[in-house]
Amino acid sequence: MDTPIGKIPRVKARLTSRDWYGSWKVRWAIGRTRYRVPPGLYAVGAPTHESPVLVTANYKMSLDLLRSELAGHDAWIMVLDTKGINVWCAAGKGTFGTAELIDRIDRVRLSDVVSHRNLILPQLGATGVSAHAVEDQSGWRITYGPVRAGDLLAFLRAGRKATPEMRRVRFPLFNRLVLVPTELAVSSKYLLIVAVCFLALSGLGSTGYSVHQIQAVGSRSLLMLLAAYFAGAAVAPVLLPWLPGPAFSLKGAFVGLLAALVIISRDWAGPGIFDNPLEAGSWLLMVPAVASFLTMNYTGSSTYTSLSGVRREMHFAVPAQIGAATIGVVVWVVGRFI
């Protein structure tokens, strides 16, 4: 589209199936996970010099979310260079920040495109941007919009006012569910390393090292590790509000213990998968330890944990996890020799 400063790309408000496929791949961490768009100024609809200017990150999903909300409206979108990271994370790192914002306003010659001096930033960008500093240094005024792009139109209609609810970050079931694939993909590297170690150790037995042992003990071990993996990286994150304790490590340990008990309890009813009670018992320590560790790492994806809180939690959780896992492994190996 033509403007006083030349051509400006127009983006469509409708997302295509390619956009959906791309974000699906990102969630599963397939291929590149940083999904970038070039920084700069974009037009949605047919904006004029009076249209609002919305600021976002150059993470493609951030831009997609914003533009799809703006269907049927006219606006400018200024995309900052956040190295392909979403608004909240980039603000935390400072790339969605005061300096980049001021610099980008200059580079896209925003003063020549619009006659007003108002920017609308996503509220979650406030962690990296100092509104009064931007105004002091550039003369542009910042209004923080709602947390969710879905509330944007309501916010604009209300005269750029957000309700307290629009300002709240929640962590509802849906959000926790869409993070599951990412969590599983990220944790799978731990799973792989641990699984290889367990398979190697499975061969050890009172009769020496045997391939038969690897098959028998190894396959049981893989089952238990998979249980820990899903308990810690998928089930506990999804069930978060209904699990005991504020600490994530406790929530994970709880689900891990339940999962191990469910599998092992089949042995009490009759011949099950374990032929050695010590081996079965060792998993009651190891599964909770692994699940606890994985769920503890989920603090990074959650939207309400503080650094001080995480430090406090790790202070008691990490020694407990290491302790339980170590005792578990020792019992697991030694049990075969008794």
């Binding site: 990102v26 994370c89 939207t303 944990t305 650094l307 406090r312």
Partner: protein, 98 residues
């Protein structure tokens, strides 16, 4: 919100009510409704809900707010400990993980 509360009595947030001019900025930027304006001054009404994101301190024009901001992420704390730095969120694989 039921169930989704993190550990209590750990947060580093400090408000100097003497410096506050009641501009409401902290109320606007805080994602966890930690503040309220009472008699034209900011007041901390839900300290334990603070996630130490630092948005309020960053946007308080009077410098009335101080918080030890950082990412509440165990992976970042581990990465930081291994590298001997502050908690750092370079878990490069994951755009949703800060």
């Amino acid at each position: 919100m039921f169930g989704l509360r993190y550990l209590t009595h750990v947060v580093t947030l400090e408000l100097d009510e003497q410096k506050c001019n009641g501009c409401r900025m902290c109320v606007e930027v805080c994602p966890h409704a930690v503040f309220e304006i009472v008699e034209k001054r900011a007041k901390i009404i839900d300290r334990d809900a603070c996630m130490e994101c630092g948005a309020c301190a960053m946007n308080c024009p009077e410098g009335a707010l101080v918080v030890n901001a950082g990412v509440g992420c165990a992976t970042a704390v581990i990465t930081g400990a291994i590298r001997g730095t502050e908690p750092t969120c370079d878990c490069a694989a994951d755009p949703d993980c800060c």
